[in-house]
Symmetry: D2
Subunit: 388 residues, 4 copies
């Protein structure tokens, strides 16, 4: 018996999940970054690895860059390299948290010279975007303070608006700015964009090309994330997702690994709110494969999103609406859970094969010998990580 209708499979054709270049480099905790043989040494090798994920899944046609980690002399060459491998360059992520000047802030800093430097960095990113063909400039603001009294929260918020306004003014007509919020870390008392409300009021003050980025790992314990998805879609301000999962803080685990049912609920609200297969709402991964293999970690991740999207698309929305209207609590919940509990994997495997893809992308990649090959070939040099 088939669980996925042709309509659902048709919807799944539109799914695209951007990969972060940095997921292919080494990452870790403040205590230790473990390295693995074969880890890319430069942006080209990262893109080569990312292309493997798309090759086996057709789910990840674009790769996000991080500047300066992915700085190259010639972005046109990088772009062509990517396209030869069947992928495009996507969102450009700025970085204002690793320069010594940014110790006490960047776009919010008390000192105009530091703000100038941080704004200029973003303008440089926009310049790169023109070369890479990227639409979105993603700003995660790792700014805040560690001790009460250390910083003037209000002044920083006002300065943030001014800095963002200047960056916004630099955007091309087809470009967007997406502003990410985060509950805490690396700052431990206050963060300048700690919640969706702050990101929303900041981007709303900029204009139509500014949107909110929702990272699924950046919330307080217990937060109902699908509610925020609903609200931002309702407000027309959900620009993109950074998918990952967490048990505690910003754990950056594989999406769907910690709470698959939460991912299901999020994807349901995306669909419910018109955010699915909507170019205005970008799906991206933002994860750290601290201890597991990176390329398979990314394959697993995009498959998790695909499988859960298939489940969410399977909800009998008419029956659900009827149960909701009639106050049938257990009935509505049962319709919802039925879709979650239905195993869509056999149908997806068959569908993949019908499209010339391996039924089991994880197994196919493992069998390809790619990991062994890069471990042998990529000898010498410095493995990529989060260092500048």
């Amino acid at each position: 018996m088939s669980t996925l209708t042709p309509e659902i499979l048709g919807e799944l054709e539109h799914q695209a999940i951007e990969l972060p270049s940095w997921a292919f480099g080494n990452s870790g905790t403040r205590f230790k970054v473990f390295s693995t043989p074969g880890t890319p040494r430069d942006p080209f090798e990262k893109i080569a690895d990312a292309a493997q994920v798309n090759r086996y899944t057709h789910l990840s046609p674009t790769v996000a860059l991080h500047i300066p980690w992915d700085k190259v002399d010639n972005y046109i060459r990088l772009r062509a390299y990517a396209e030869d491998l069947g992928v495009s360059l996507g969102t450009v992520n700025s970085n204002t948290f690793q320069d010594d000047d940014y110790k006490f802030g960047a776009l919010t800093h008390e000192d105009a010279a530091v703000r100038r430097k941080a704004i200029d960095h973003h303008l440089e990113c926009i310049e790169i975007m023109h070369q890479t063909g990227s639409r979105d400039l993603k700003i995660w603001l790792a700014e805040g303070s560690n001790y009460p009294g250390q910083a003037d929260l209000r002044g920083r918020q006002d300065r943030l608006h001014e800095s963002l306004s200047e960056i916004y003014a630099g955007l091309g007509d087809e470009q967007r700015l997406v502003l990410e919020y985060k509950f805490f870390e690396p700052a431990f008392y206050h963060t300048d964009v700690p919640d969706w409300g702050t990101s929303y009021v900041q981007v709303a003050a900029l204009g139509d090309k500014a949107m909110v980025c929702l990272d699924t790992g950046h919330h307080a314990p217990g937060t109902n994330i699908e509610f925020i998805v609903m609200q931002l879609l309702r407000l027309g301000k959900l620009g993109s997702f950074d998918f990952n999962s967490r048990f505690y803080a910003d754990d950056d685990l594989i999406v769907g690994a910690a709470d698959p049912f939460q991912l299901f609920r999020i994807l349901y609200e995306v669909i419910r709110g018109g955010g699915y297969a909507n170019p205005d709402v970008a799906f991206m991964l933002d994860q750290c494969h601290n201890i597991e293999d990176k390329i398979p970690g990314q394959i697993r991740s995009v498959l998790n999103v695909q499988e859960m999207t298939a489940r969410a698309l399977s909800i009998d929305t008419e029956a659900l609406a009827a149960a909701q209207k009639s106050g049938d609590v257990l009935g509505a919940n049962a319709i919802f859970m039925d879709a979650f509990y239905t195993d869509v994997r056999p149908d997806l495997a068959a569908w993949r094969e019908s499209r010339g893809l391996p039924a089991d992308p994880m197994a196919a990649f493992a069998a390809s010998g790619y990991l062994q090959r890069i471990a042998e070939e990529r000898v010498g040099g410095v493995q990529a990580g989060w260092g500048a």
Copy 2:
């Protein structure tokens, strides 16, 4: 050595903290409501008790009502009764969580008839406000769902907007609507106004007379509440506070009891953002004295707010700004903490006496024999609680 300057004492003259009538009735948990002798049986007795708090502190000139708990035949008489006791009637709080019709929502309900009923209840509250002379209609929306799938989050949000719009249209020129948000409880999966962002976008869509109410106990674990205070003041949308404190969930303990330093930080941001002694930003208590005496519990609470306001007013803001500008983390924090650690109580006691108040309001009230008197006099009848 005096720690509080005449300027600070002058600022303290303007402090007013509204008391909730329901704090004088019985309250408890879902497991048990303990009663005490002398508990009021009607709104008049609640106001009499509230007036005691103001008598010994001059800090609580108004009393908030809750409809229907405080319904009376003649609000003019209630108002006159209060004024005879030196207090006024303040904010009117609506109630859409105790009628069987509201089991699945009120202003957000799927059924237009239920929404009609809930809207009409608010219009009735506005009518009462005209009689009581109240400015603010406070709406705490105890609506949500317990199970994923049970409710259509998006539809409810839209209906909430429609319902609020109709209530807003009914406000008098000098009246306001304040919309309270709450993280969870009594609903356990989703709440329709769970965070400041949602309250903000809902009231912003209404107009200038709609504001956000911030209850200090209604946030996720770890939330930086003073940041929200800062942001709402910056946006011109902080309408009122519900003060209380918490260790876990919405514990409704005495303000300042669980984390006095947090109260200090909140009050600092109120002052920093121009929200202190600003009639647009109302200070209220919203607490439950489940096991402690109620009137002394309220006296303790307003004194806690006063003492912590005095500390926050004592911060050397010029030195603080200089330290902040120069990136002197420990220096800025030390200036901040110095004000927190300075004992303002002796100065406040002397100041109280200079204004004809008891140096120690707790002791003076205890010595008055009021609690014993009401225990003897209020015999028979039904003690007030949270029942309608």
Copy 3:
């Protein structure tokens, strides 16, 4: 293709999940208890409702009692009544949180007379257990304090030991005491048995007949509950489960409703540690059906536990152990997730039918007209709730 082997189905035959009598009465939050037609008015009617759950599932052969809520004149008659309906009386739950004397504690109270009363209540429970044929006396200690300084934490802990020792001494040879811990509520500053560690050290000091009760809703945010399951089984001290689920605090929702994957992980550790189908480890529900129908809510709950047990039993433990040993992070996780994602419901439906049970117990019960019948028949009297 069948997913559940005969061995797994054989294991499932041993599953028994005790129902709480109070789940069939009304419950709610401190804000409102909604009532429904047909709610039981006495312990007999509660047992009749509980028997319905077992009739359609063969999963709940016993019913837990709560004293004094379920006090009757003749327990022998209650026991016979239950047995006529195919169920037995199970765990007896004591109550030391609803008497005015217990406002500041019961087994931990400063006053020996109050402790005496609380101990005697437990001895009375043991006496009832002899009549009902119950093995387990469950103690949930709703004791604590709301304000720092209010209580002497250490003295209370020592008095708790003394009180428990006296109760323990009163147990019959085949009887056990299980001590439940809870993070918070109804006390909001400290709780006398707030975590598994405290429950463990208290029962370890009593002897072999004292065990820990783990309520899945009684932990701090983010707690890894399956780790605690593992540890208590390792220590030989896991006496029983109170199953339910939560998004925020002690929400008491249907087990598996909030985080099905967590339930899967818990059940895996139960099996891994030898706690499944082990008479020493009792499975119970402890839930509140505040807004949904109660009997279907209980049927849904036992089915959730059964379905998730089937998934957990399906894990390929040999392959898992091999992947764990070899440090194959993604491989081990994939084996684990495969069992979680496999849809066991069709096999379970077929197996139910093979045993003379309805394939879909929810539908069969709905079709039975029982709810309509009790709504018509149970007219007059006072509906059961949490009042004494």
Copy 4:
């Protein structure tokens, strides 16, 4: 008016707070480690800096070492160097989280060879302790897993016991093992010693020389830490504190900075339970000065502990016990809060001067020019951090 009696000042004479050598090196988050001029390049320079803290406060006579970060060729020489500067070498901290072999565990690893290596590391630490004259071997077990299914929780717990037993057997007669627990990080699904209960059962299984280490930043949100202090003292198993403070996760901020009232409550329970000025209960700092100056950060920290200890010692314990016994909630809380709100700083300043110490150690250190001197002198070499 003096607030601190001679008895209290006498008690304060016994206070000693061990400093961590690593607090003087660079630290940061996974995103960035900021460096500062003058940061020590070797263990000798760290000890020189630590000695400064003691010089201005007489509060920190010992310095904890971390192996291998503080490995030297000649520990006798390091010990003599410290003693020349007026301090001793204290607790030795092991490290089993930075070697590639420990990616999947150390003392709990599936592979006996890895466990052997980790055990041998601890035996080497014990050998070093004999040379440094240290009493305590502190084990923080940074072991766990990131994904459900990745690890066999139960097997790891059993192997942990075996490994610890072997280490315990290697202790000298006067030596102790203290086992630290931590809620999460660097592992994000499970941690092998996540809570006090696990640490307690592991050390209880070893013997009298094994104790629990309580790091104040290592708990779930909302955890009542003073309760754990009470319980561990009651069980005779509180071996040491790692002091720091947090708003979110393991923020490692200056002790008392995030929640001064919590520090007060903790110290009260230490005193209440006989843990103050008790050599069996070691006070240590474990903090990261990511953005603030390190030596002043440590001075501020020990002063915070001293000031809060003075407040906690000032509680009128007789009056408190009487209020507790009589159920006077507000009275007991008022006595408790009175001590917290009393400003002990003037008395402490005077007392310091009477002992030949600066009234204001922060100012005196700043005036000394030490920071400028080391910035000039410590040029070249590699600044110490968390790298091996």
